[in-house]
């Protein structure tokens, strides 16, 4: 499972990276979202998969999967949500002000 998950993460990274390398702002944001999924799955994979029950003490199992990566991912998801929201708003504000969502046209000119 870990091997396959690693490959899946790799593919997600590939797709995300490709999207980030395009010009369109929306695609770039989509790319970051895909990469973020990749990252979260990667952390989970690196913590070991399916080695025990859910990390809840009340449900009768005696072995538990590693809870620490889960907690880390949770924090990461939230922070990623915050930055994504910010980035989204930033891109549409940039579009409003600059009239383009093409990063190739956002190079900035000398006359400012």
């Amino acid at each position: 499972m870990e091997t396959i998950m690693s490959i899946l993460v790799g593919v997600l990274f590939t797709i995300g990276t490709y999207l980030i390398l395009t010009k369109s702002l929306i695609r770039i944001i989509l790319g970051t979202s895909i990469i973020s999924h990749g990252v979260h799955l990667l952390i989970l994979t690196m913590g070991g998969l399916k080695s025990g029950g859910p990390p809840l003490l009340g449900i009768g199992t005696t072995t538990f999967t590693d809870a620490l990566p889960q907690a880390l991912i949770l924090t990461a998801i939230v922070i990623n949500f915050a930055t994504t929201a910010l980035f989204l708003v930033l891109s549409y504000r940039a579009y409003q002000e600059l009239g383009t969502d093409n990063t190739a046209e956002m190079r900035g000119d000398e006359n400012e």
């Binding site: 990749g38 989970l44 003490l57 998801i77 994504t84 504000r93 990063t103």
Partner: protein
């Protein structure tokens, strides 16, 4: 805090008050009158040290500055530094006196001028008296800076700024080289004290870093002393007010390099490298400077090149003299020690006559409004006193009796003749070049000295070509040059007073081993029979006179040399093209295009991480510990891949968002499969809210269509991007597999399984979040809060719109 320290630091302290004096008293009294007190006081203080130093004693005083690093104000007075100290303050006083008349108190920003000047004076004193190389470096750079400020004193002028920049770049470059040399020295010897290094000379010479350290330090000395090819800054430094040219750029600052070489001779001297580098560079500079001085049309330019040439001469003498240390003791050594004596002696002489000449040129400039040789002439009758001073100075410079220049020039000739016979450092083959170069350069020296005095003061008086009506300068302005000119003569007649009081201790400081031997005896005389050097002088005078008279015929030779190949042109082109090249390099990679930056970053990522993985041979793929996979999970993975690819290839943004939503759902399904209920919950909510945000923002964002109208495909295909992204994915995967294959340690997680006892919570993840790692959660919601504020301000605050 000893008197010595006070003397060195007082210029700095006083500099702070100069603007106040300027502000409150300048209308009544020229600020210079306040300032002149400082050099006089220090000069007198140093004068009274002479007997003590002449008797062979030295003074060492220290106060801590940064004692933990061994950087202290270790001040050390011996013969060598005393001479410099006297020069700095003596000439300094005269220059200030001169400047009081030279610079108008109404028009000039005198507070700036005198602050810079005092800064320089203090720095220079610190430089020569410091025993600590780092402190020496501190003062060294301060002299560069104050010189920079003084050259650009008339900062409105383009040329001043150009000259200032040039001198700063070159001297600070040298300073940095010197610093690195010093650092190497201190690494070898483990001390910053020059005196302690003397004792370790042999260790230093044997060390691997000896040669680089020496060369780097010499770079510093050469740039400061305007040695070839670093001399180019000095002519442009003549944009400074003339008192400054007289003071910094002929008498004192440019001699800092000389001082350094002399000061370090006990450490490096006696080695072939030291001997050759210094004497060769000195001789080349001598020839180059004198040769170029002849073709100058600006009087100050002429003096600048003449200074370069004279500095070269002093430098070469120091080089030759260093051979004394090779022989260590005995008469052979004493013979070369004479070269050192000559160097120091000529340095003093040079300061006197060149100072006088600069002041004369300043007077001419001041009174006529020009320094152009072609426009001047016949001033002899108008300005007789000035002429007399100029004559004395020029003849001294040309090496004619009865002026002090003659004495030192003779000693110089004697040294280069003697050095031919030396049987060390391969002198037997190349030694013959020394006297030839010296002699040729002296001819040029003779010629330009004649040009200086006769072209200006003889010939036809052309008042129509002058800016003002010329007349003799006010007496105040003449005092300083007259004093110097009389010194020129006095020294010629009583050279041994100087020799006994100043030269002997100085040479003793440079060649300590000889001092112990007691072979050091300096006796300077104007007449020592018909020796080789006398014939050389006669030759110089004869040929020089002939050439001076036929000047017009052969100066065309100069034009044969292409203008754009001069070092100056190289500097200018280099500076300009370096800016241009720098701009083109920077613009090449700093495109302002995010994609390019990301491409660099990803490429570097792949190279660095992938490279490390491969080079460190840590790619291990171990499948044995893998959890089992079933068909259901495979299918979900397949669906995820499909969804991800749909995001990639989607032609419309909504499709992409929906696919992203699917991807998010599937990820949370994975969280379920991997026993992470909290994660699944969070992922779901966040996914939905994000999707909603996307939709909200889409109202304000353009559609995909608009930009991909031309091509049918949704996302443009770029092979390079694809390669980069595949490489990134591959690195991430391979790393993940390797990391998974080499789990060296047990995770710390088992501790948290007691969360009920520890934190009273049965949900371990929640316990970690709110208890074990509560700070993470606290900061995480804090991040959310800031994000909310940021979104709010981004949307609400629109300054650019408001301006419209």
């Amino acid at each position: 805090m000893t008197i010595l320290h006070i003397m060195i630091l007082i210029p700095f302290v006083f500099a702070i008050f100069v603007p106040l004096f300027y502000k409150y008293f300048n209308k009544r009294l020229h600020t210079g009158w306040f300032v002149i007190l400082i050099p006089i006081i220090i000069f007198v203080y140093l004068l009274q040290l002479i007997p003590k130093i002449a008797s062979g004693a030295t003074i060492y005083e220290t106060i801590p500055w940064i004692p933990s690093f061994g950087i202290n104000l270790d001040m050390y007075v011996d013969g060598l530094s005393l001479i410099f100290g006297l020069l700095i303050t003596g000439i300094g006083a005269l220059v200030i006196l001169y400047s009081i008349y030279y610079l108008s108190k109404e028009k000039e920003a005198l507070h700036n001028f005198y602050v810079y000047l005092l800064l320089f004076m203090g720095a220079m004193l610190g430089l020569v008296f410091s025993d600590n190389i780092l402190v020496l470096y501190v003062f060294w750079e301060l002299t560069s800076i104050s010189s920079f400020l003084l050259i650009a004193y008339w900062y409105e002028r383009e040329k001043s700024r150009y000259g200032a920049q040039k001198s700063m770049l070159i001297t600070i470059f040298g300073g940095l080289a010197m610093l690195s040399g010093f650092i190497m020295l201190s690494m070898i010897t483990d001390t910053y004290s020059i005196r302690e290094m003397f004792a370790m000379s042999e260790t230093i010479i044997a060390h691997d870093l000896f040669l680089p350290a020496m060369i780097l330090i010499l770079l510093g000395a050469f740039t400061k002393s305007a040695q070839f090819p670093f001399s180019i800054w000095l002519p442009d430094a003549m944009e400074a007010p003339t008192p400054i040219s007289a003071y910094l750029h002929s008498a004192t600052m440019v001699k800092a390099g000389i001082y350094l070489v002399a000061r370090l001779t006990p450490i490096f001297g006696g080695t072939a490298e030291w001997f050759w580098i210094i004497s060769t560079v000195g001789l080349i500079t001598l020839l180059y400077g004198s040769f170029n001085a002849v073709k100058q049309i600006d009087l100050k330019g002429l003096l600048a090149y003449s200074t370069i040439s004279q500095l070269g001469m002093i430098m070469s003498l120091l080089g030759i003299g260093s051979a004394a240390l090779y022989f260590g003791y005995g008469n052979e050594a004493a013979m070369y020690a004479a070269a050192i004596t000559a160097a120091i002696f000529h340095m003093i002489n040079h300061s006197t006559f060149k100072g006088a000449l600069f002041m004369v040129v300043g007077i001419v400039d001041h009174e006529t409004g020009t320094r152009d040789i072609r426009r001047l002439g016949g001033l002899m009758t108008v300005m007789p006193i000035t002429f007399t001073v100029a004559l004395i100075g020029s003849f001294a410079m040309a090496g004619l009796p009865p002026f002090n220049g003659f004495l030192s020039k003779e000693m110089f000739f004697a040294s280069v003749v003697k050095v031919m016979e030396m049987d060390a450092f391969n002198m037997e083959t190349l030694g013959v070049l020394f006297p030839i170069i010296a002699w040729v350069a002296s001819i040029f020296t003779f010629i330009y000295s004649m040009i200086l005095v006769f072209k200006t003061f003889r010939g036809k008086y052309k008042p129509e070509r002058l800016e003002k009506k010329a007349h003799e300068a006010p007496i105040g302005m003449l005092i300083a040059p007259i004093i110097l000119a009389s010194l020129v003569i006095v020294i010629f007649f009583f050279p041994n007073v100087i020799a006994d009081l100043l030269l002997v201790p100085a040479v003793a400081a440079i060649l300590p081993s000889l001092m112990e031997e007691n072979v050091l005896e300096i006796h300077i005389s104007a007449w020592h029979g018909f020796s080789a050097e006398l014939y050389m002088t006669i030759g110089v005078v004869v040929i020089g006179t002939i050439m001076y008279l036929t000047l017009k015929k052969w100066t065309k030779v100069y034009r044969l040399y292409p203008q754009n190949l001069t070092i100056n042109a190289l500097y200018n082109n280099g500076l300009e093209s370096s800016q241009r090249i720098a701009a083109s390099i920077t613009n090449k990679y700093m495109t302002g295009y995010t994609r390019d930056y990301l491409a660099y970053i990803f490429t570097f990522f792949v190279l660095l991480i992938g490279g490390t993985l491969i080079v460190s041979n840590s790619i291990t793929i171990d499948l044995t510990n893998d959890a089992p996979v079933n068909i259901f999970e495979m299918a979900i993975i397949l669906s995820m891949l499909v969804a991800a690819f749909t995001v990639l290839l989607a032609k419309s943004r909504l499709t992409a968002i929906i696919s992203l939503g699917v991807l998010g759902y599937l990820v949370s399904l994975f969280f379920v499969i991997f026993r992470a209920p909290d994660l699944a919950l969070t992922q779901l909510v966040v996914e939905t809210v994000t999707t909603a945000l996307f939709l909200l923002c889409f109202f304000h964002l353009p559609k995909f269509k608009e930009q991909t109208k031309k091509q049918k495909k949704g996302v443009p295909f770029k092979p390079l991007n694809l390669i980069i992204s595949i490489a990134v994915g591959a690195v991430v995967t391979v790393f993940a597999l390797s990391a998974n294959g080499t789990q060296i340690f047990e995770p710390i997680a088992s501790y948290y399984e007691d969360s009920y006892e520890l934190a009273g919570a049965k949900n371990i993840v929640n316990a970690i979040l709110v208890d074990f790692r509560g700070i993470d959660t606290m900061l995480e919601i804090f991040v959310l809060c800031i994000a909310a504020l940021s979104v709010y301000t981004m949307i609400k605050l629109r300054l650019s719109r408001r301006e419209k």
